[in-house]
Every structure is written in structure tokens, then in C-alpha cells.
Symmetry: C2
Subunit: 227 residues, 2 copies
Amino acid sequence: ALHLNQVKKIYTMTGEDVCALSSIDLVINENEYVAIMGPSGSGKSTLMNILGCLDVATSGDYFLAGANVSELSDDALAEIRNRRIGFIFQTFNLLPRSSLLQNVELPLIYRGINARERRQLAEASIARVGLGDRMKHKPNELSGGQRQRVAIARALVNNPSVILADEPTGNLDSKTGQEIMEILNQLHAVGNTIILVTHEHEIAQNAERIIQLKDGMIESDHTVPML
Amino acid sequence: ALHLNQVKKIYTMTGEDVCALSSIDLVINENEYVAIMGPSGSGKSTLMNILGCLDVATSGDYFLAGANVSELSDDALAEIRNRRIGFIFQTFNLLPRSSLLQNVELPLIYRGINARERRQLAEASIARVGLGDRMKHKPNELSGGQRQRVAIARALVNNPSVILADEPTGNLDSKTGQEIMEILNQLHAVGNTIILVTHEHEIAQNAERIIQLKDGMIESDHTVPML
Ligand SMILES: Nc1ncnc2c1ncn2[C@@H]1O[C@H](COP(=O)(O)OP(=O)(O)OP(=O)(O)O)[C@@H](O)[C@H]1O
Ligand SMILES: Nc1ncnc2c1ncn2[C@@H]1O[C@H](COP(=O)(O)OP(=O)(O)OP(=O)(O)O)[C@@H](O)[C@H]1O
Ligand SMILES: [Mg+2]
Ligand SMILES: [Mg+2]
């Protein structure tokens, strides 16, 4: 389970502090499917970065599977980020000078997987998002939606049990967006935890629970009616 | 008017050519409001880059207000890109080490506008997209949707008469997205030409005409029914 307790995040800048998260209490259990929505600037990506152990809260605690994240060693944190959590970034964060294949292999390299198996796993992840015919392209030789799909393929290649997807369909046409949601839905069906930021209500309907953020606070938190 | 005649775009890579646009004939008249839709990878951004004089067709001609773009001088092209066309990029293309204000001032600097007037114009454009309180932030100190709005503010600061918007609301919640569409609708109402790539049907409905791309070709081209 992911458990945030009184989590605040303040960005300190010269002359002004920005309070991005104001006081978040949140529990997400294993195998939940949660959508996070809210206005631009309301703190969604900041919340995701803390859940993904990519950023640290200014105050409050984050318990991941019972362990207080601030007390974990660097190695333990690296292991979590690499193997347990798959993060799909809102702005993709691809290596510009590496090919699509190399970008997707990156989490496998960190794991020490041998070159042959790495290639097979990466190719499978790439094929699943429909980019098998673009493997040698670099990010700037791909369309916006293709880059988004590379970010997705990379996040999923290590079979993480928690998937944090920040606007995974923002650059995709409806059909391709639905194909991506089908991948996430399947991953949920086999037991993984899915946390998804989206601004599209149709996409949010794939989840079981919708959390609305506003000004760094949780405004509402409802289960999605079963159909 | 923007007139593409038998335009092809082929990206040449070692070992494979990618045909991004296969044979485009297209006329967009002054003050039209056009939405371009289509699957990921179908050639929308490539088409926008050619219309915006940011890229060159492999074959075929592009006439902009009667002039063949391939015959224009570098100075004439620079003037078009800076003053006549405002381009909102799908991946924002902001200067990472400059503040929001500096990013939006950039087109005004190229025009040789003095510092005081530049600042006023840039601040007005920034206020219009709701980021008045974020002016000193750099792009990595902004949310995804805020970065998108900086790209919009920058594209509009020179009052261009042709606006090319590539997924301008892809990272915005519905309400902020509608505020942006209201800006574009107002610009259309005062005589400007708006060409918008979007994957969201609701956003496309703001336009008068919807063009569907598929595999680098125009699949359909219809006027939007008046309501
Ligand atoms: N520099 C490049 N070199 C090689 N191929 C490229 C390059 N840029 C784009 N492509 C390819 O050209 C095709 C069209 O790309 P384009 O960016 O126009 O698509 P798009 O319709 O904007 O897609 P999206 O909706 O995903 O943004 C894609 O299949 C892409 O892989
Ligand atoms: N490094 C930073 N320094 C200062 N302020 C920041 C930084 N990163 C984010 N912010 C601010 O914190 C607030 C929350 O940002 P966040 O990225 O979490 O928003 P968001 O909900 O993801 O927005 P969007 O929907 O636009 O992606 C924003 O107002 C933003 O300007
Ligand atoms: Mg965000
Ligand atoms: Mg594109």
C-alpha cells in the first residue's frame, strides 16, 4: 500500500515559496486503480513524483509497503524506482541521443540483465505499444505521440507492480489512447496497482476511484460507479 | 491563403525512408478556422511544420499569400516565422535556462522591440494565459500545463495573423483548456487564421472545418455543422 500522511511540498525560490501540496492524507491499496484529476498547477505531478520516490516531501511521511521511505537506503530506493515502480512522465524524459530501443532498454541495463535478454524484453515492450517499425529512430525522429509511447514502453519493461502514469494519453488520438488504456487495464487485471493522472474524463472512467486535486489539496475522492 | 500543391515529405534515414506526407493538396484561406485530426504518426506535426515554414517539403510547392515559399529569401522567411506565423509546438520547445518572461519576450527581441515595451507586451500575453504569478519561474519550475501555456503566450505575443497550434490543450484540464480555446476563438473572430491539431473532438468542434489525416494523406475534409 502507498500511504501519505500529512504530506506537504513547498518549492523554495528566492523571494517566494510555492506551496505545491498543502496537506495530503492518502492511502492507495495494492491492486487499486486510481485516477487523479484537477486543474493545471494543482499539484498532480508533484504528488506523483513523491509517490514514485522521485522527490521528497517537505514535511509529513510516506510509507511504501509499510516502510517509511525517508528511512530507506539509497540502494533500496534505487531498487524501488527501477523495479517496483514504473513511471510514465508527463514530458516523457527520453534520452535524446539514444534510439528508441536504447531508451527502453535503460531500466534493464540498470538491472544488470544480459544484452540478449534485454533486447528481447525491450522489443516486446516496444511492439506492445505499436512501435515495432520505429526501433532505430531517435526521439526527435518520432512524432509526439510516438515519444509518449516510448516513455510508456520504458516504464513497463521491468514489469513493475506499481504504475504511475502522468497524462499517458495526452498526445494520442482516441484510438491509440484506447490501446494504451487497454494495456493499463490488463496490467490492473493481473494484480498491479495503477495510478493515473489525466484531464480526460473518458480516460478516468477506466479507473475504480477518482481523486480530484485543487490548490495542492484533495478536494474529493470517490469510487467510480460500476457499470 | 496557404496553398500546398502535391506536397510530399520523406525523412531519409540510413536503411529506411519514412514517408511522412504522401501527397498533400490543401488550400486554407485567410480567416479560416481549421482543425487537423488523425492517428499518432499520421503526419500532422510534419504538415504543421511545413505550413509554418519550419521545415521544407521533399517535393511539391507551398504558396503562402501567393509567394512560393522555396523562392523566398532567408530574411523574408525569418520575418514570416517571427511576425506572421505564431507556432505552438506539441513539445513546447522552451529555453530551459530562461525564465517564463524571457521565453515569451524572445520573439519580441528578434523584432528589435525596446526593453520596456517588450516587457509590457510579454506580461500581457502571460497574464492572458493565467500565469501572471509565475513569471520568474524557469520551465522546470512549472507544471506541464503551465509550460504548455508559456508556449502559447510566446506564440501569440507578436500578434501573428496565422496561428498554428499543435495539441495546445494536450496537457490542460478541461477548464484551462476551454480558456485557451476562448483565446483562439477570439483571435479567429478578429480576422486571424487558426490551424489547430487536436485529438479531442470537443476541442475540434471550435473550428469550422475538420481535416482528417491518415498515413500521410488527407482522408476527409469537412465543414463543421453550424449550431
Ligand atoms: N526527423 C524524422 N526522421 C524520421 N522519421 C520521422 C521524423 N519526424 C517524424 N518522423 C516520422 O514521420 C511520421 C509522421 O510524424 P508526425 O510527427 O508528423 O506525426 P503526428 O501525426 O504529429 O503524430 P502525433 O499525433 O503522435 O504527434 C511518424 O511516423 C514519425 O515516426
Ligand atoms: N521546481 C519547482 N519550483 C517551483 N515551483 C514549482 C516547481 N515545480 C512545480 N512548481 C509549481 O508547483 C505547482 C504544482 O505543480 P505540478 O507540476 O504538480 O502541477 P500539475 O497539477 O501536474 O499541473 P499540470 O496539470 O499543468 O501538469 C505549480 O503551480 C507549479 O508552478
Ligand atoms: Mg503535471
Ligand atoms: Mg504530432
